[in-house]
Symmetry: C2
Subunit: 584 residues, 2 copies
């Protein structure tokens, strides 16, 4: 037996008992006649003591030879410490070592195994197994486990059944790019890895499973943006005989349960915004509502003067940034530069200082008087001391730009409180989205999403106006879940495929099994999927999902620790009936 206790559990109550501990040497302090070492494992740190008076020469010699990250087993007696450490739970005791065995040595690690390490991200990824020894990473993984367990308990208690759906499925060229897997036994054919278990969960509803969930890996071969992973984890859910209201209630319940159990936070009913409201109020379909700065539309109060830029704009819209009317000219210029960066893309910005004395000072005083500006303040909810920032132009673009500014100012003013959790539902998403490059409409959610009742006819006349029974769950400015009521009628599904540009043959080849299934008594159904990686990161008060994944890939889709992907043997290619066709 390697240990009687772990390194986090000894207390004063254990005094004078004999214990056996195993773990890693975190630090050694060698004072010559006395040596202290901190022994670490997943559970904590216990101080070991060796001294000339009470320890044999052999043990002293071994203690002196210990290096960082050596793995050792010790036997000894628990003693009260003379100088206690109130910062750790074991800080009142130490173990006087009577036997020590080096289980494995360590060469010097490439970075320090401390909460604040000297290792850069690349180095930590290459030696991820050492990075995981650090508390911040280890605790994130343990936190993730707790969240996943709570999800499973809650859903299972609500009669949801976790069903494993296959990973080797069929490629569908719609949507994002699939990862494919050549089949050796079926020459020239390929499986695809699922982008989500969407069709399988719908088939489970056709199969009468009634309430399904699965915590499941999904795969997308996309060009990776920062903080996207080619493989990611979903909490995938589906229910039969439900309307949108039923689904919102169930998953609002799940989210409340998580906030309560994991964070100890009680949240009342989640607010709901329609997609249109969210866009008008926040310029964003996943607004962070922990802080205000709601959009004030200014067309009515800013297009009656000779200021051509506003008069020509489809939309004039502003926000009141709290408490920064005192910004210097330099700070204000920097802010204008910020919105003009290509990533934001505004042409310029009008601003109004709402001074503490109630007066206004703006960049457009030539065109607008105090009375005008007072109306802007009213529309944006500005108070004395605030700075009103106004953008104008094409409505969609301007909203996106102002949303970026709103988030940036919230970051700068530290309004995004990590300890606050503000969930909301965004509902009534458009069914279709115009791809400006191709001029084609594609499904905003996916092709199985049901239009709102009575809106099918609009598909022919005004496709962009059709609203869907689709909803997103937003938490602190991040979409953590999204779903829809599905089509369960074969005819409507066919019509939908047609509108999305599928020929009947393509629809049949790719989704024939689903439409066939719809002929045999498909129940009304709908569902939702949470992104587990992001959910966990946000509950953990962070926004980088990589910090909550044990072995993440880098932005080129590489695992730099195991060095994958890699070349394979010619023999493997032959067996798969494949040849490389490399481009120069």
């Amino acid at each position: 037996m390697y240990r009687s206790h772990n390194c986090g559990e000894l207390r004063e109550a254990h005094q004078n008992t004999e214990v056996t501990l195993s773990g890693w040497v975190q630090t050694v302090r060698d004072k010559g006649f006395v040596i202290w070492a901190d022994l670490r494992d997943r559970y904590g740190i216990t101080q070991l003591i060796f001294d000339e008076e009470r320890s044999s020469k052999e043990i002293m010699d071994t203690a002196k030879s210990l290096g960082r990250e050596f793995v050792v087993q010790v036997k000894g007696t628990v003693l009260e410490r003379s100088s206690k450490n109130p910062n750790i739970p074991t800080g009142n005791v130490e173990v006087l070592v009577s036997e020590i065995k080096i289980l494995n040595k360590s060469i010097t690690p490439p970075f320090t195994i401390e909460d604040q390490t000297d290792g850069g991200e690349d180095l930590r990824m290459k030696y991820r197994y050492l990075d995981i020894r650090r508390n911040p990473v280890k605790n994130n993984l343990i936190f993730r486990h707790k969240v996943a367990m709570e999800v499973r308990k809650y859903l299972s208690d609500q009669d949801f059944i976790e069903v494993e759906t296959p990973y080797l499925i069929k490629s569908t060229p719609e949507g994002a790019r699939d990862f494919v897997v050549p089949s050796r036994m079926n020459q020239g054919q390929f499986y695809a890895l699922p982008q989500s278990p969407q069709t399988f969960k719908q088939l489970l509803m056709v199969g009468g499973m009634d309430k399904y969930f699965q915590i499941v890996k999904c795969f997308r071969d996309e060009d990776l943006r920062a903080d996207r992973q080619p493989e990611f984890t979903q909490i995938d859910c589906e229910m039969a005989f439900v309307e949108q209201e039923d689904i919102l209630n169930v998953f609002e319940g799940l989210t409340k349960h998580l906030l309560q159990e994991i964070k100890g936070i009680t949240v009342d009913k989640f607010p709901r915004l329609t997609y249109e409201e969210a866009m008008r109020k926040y310029g964003n379909d996943k607004p962070d509502i922990r802080f205000g700065m709601e959009f004030g539309e200014l067309n009515a109060v800013a297009q009656h003067k000779d200021f051509g830029i506003f008069n020509e704009a489809e939309l004039v819209v502003g926000i009141a940034v709290p408490g920064i009317a005192s910004y210097t000219r330099k700070q204000l210029d920097a802010l204008v530069d910020w919105v003009r960066r290509p990533q934001v893309g505004a042409k310029g910005m009008v601003y109004v200082k709402y001074n503490e004395d109630g007066s206004f000072k703006s960049t457009v005083d030539k065109f607008f008087d105090q009375e005008d500006l007072a109306k802007w303040a009213e529309a944006t909810g500005a108070k004395p001391g605030d700075l009103i920032c106004v953008l104008s132009g094409d409505a969609n673009k301007t909203r996106a730009q102002l949303s970026a500014l709103r988030m940036e100012m919230a970051e700068r003013l530290k309004l995004r409180n990590k300890e606050e959790f503000a969930p909301l539902w965004v509902v009534d998403f458009p069914l279709l989205e115009l791809d400006e490059e191709t001029g084609r409409y594609h499904a905003m959610h996916h092709p199985f999403t049901s239009p709102k009742p009575g809106q099918m006819e609009l598909l022919d006349t005004d496709p962009g106006a059709v609203k869907a029974n689709a909803y997103d769950l937003v938490l602190n400015g991040n979409e953590i879940g999204g779903g829809s009521i599905r089509i369960h009628d074969k005819q409507i599904q066919s019509t939908m495929f047609k509108h999305l540009g599928f020929t009947p043959e393509e629809a049949k080849a790719q989704f024939g099994f689903l439409m066939d299934a719809f002929q045999y008594g498909a129940p009304p159904h709908g569902g939702l999927a949470f992104g587990l990686d992001r959910l966990v990161a946000i509950l953990g008060g962070q926004e980088t999902i990589r910090d909550f994944i044990a072995f993440p890939k880098n932005n080129s889709g590489r695992d730099v620790m195991i060095d994958a992907p890699a070349a394979i043997d010619q023999e493997q290619l032959n067996e798969l009936s494949l040849k490389l066709d490399l481009k120069a």
Copy 2:
């Protein structure tokens, strides 16, 4: 809201309440003036009643139009049934329908949705979503969910952390064949799907995670035998600072917990057999010990006469099959034919009838007298009324043949009681196994398995004799789990790779990251993996894993429902820098 109750919950206490139900029409019995329909959902069946006196003509007409598997919503009043059905929990009530809405029609399903269906396996697989509506399949999936939940609860309560390891990893030509995934972003390179998370779980131990588990899909591109799947699910576990004894105790605890919680069966301490004992007593490293028929080795009592076949044999071994001494000549001939089938491969069989009167009658009476045969009876534990079956030849082959006969007789005599659960540990497996084709040794468990202490030297002189710290958990004749204590020393791991025929370059290219990791303080560690599919099937009293998988593949690795694998677009191949290289 589609329903106020589900179809399994109404009882007499609900009498005279108004309810709304939704579900599938299982059967309709139309007596003209009164119509009964059974409405089914996941939770049960509720009888609906429509009659001319109490129902409107419109409702009667709709009721008459109902077909099998139509999806309907009804409102109505719960009434006591005049003729009760004691076989179902809702059998005392029926619902008098006041409103009915057909939510979706169904064409006639290709097989009946009944416990005993008329659909053959191929048809049921093609329409698996209909098959899942049947109780036997639905209940298996629900059962699987319960088992997985209990596993997670138990391990989580024991401080195990579920950590998700990556699916896109690196191909290693050792072991079974990998499924590979071409990388678009890394031209000419491939990921592999994991055959198990073996190296990652070891890295998690190096990373101090201490106790890890994961219920995880694994992949093997093998030629499929019956009841093998290209993707399968493991309960994968690993612990640091453990010896074999610690691991056996933890997972014996888990298995007892499952037997208790899932089956209500209390099992005391699991017996343990060494691999050698298992082979000698049962000819099998996964013996079913629910019944006897232990092997009796007969060399000492059967090689002293002129029977050349026995005298030339390396091993003469028999079993006493209970109660079939009365078999007719025809039955006995059939049994001899059975062991001579190519799948079993015995050249012939000697048998001895141990008659009820205490006399013996054998096929070798010419060579052996009653006294000789009495010794055979003693060695095999035969009692009057038993038939002693004796095989001889090469020791390994003969044991395998007799094991096959033992299992066959247990099946025929119905000794494999589905309600009985007899787990055992088989320990001390050989480290290496000789591949007779190549003459090379390969790892019996995997290359990371630790030899027993002090046996490293034997690797050079007698590799086949080296025993490993490896163990299997066997339940009712099936290996449900297996594992080992791992090597945690870089030098020993290198030596092991050398003995397995890796060049240092190959070892570095494939497992360099693991050996690197061992330099930074790897703790002693070991683990175990359960095959979830098989575990669930056996706990469910069955042996076919396909019945416990929602969407299984057939023996050609095809999903016949979605028709995968399938051809992919030329454009996809181009993006992956691949060409098909089809053989005629």
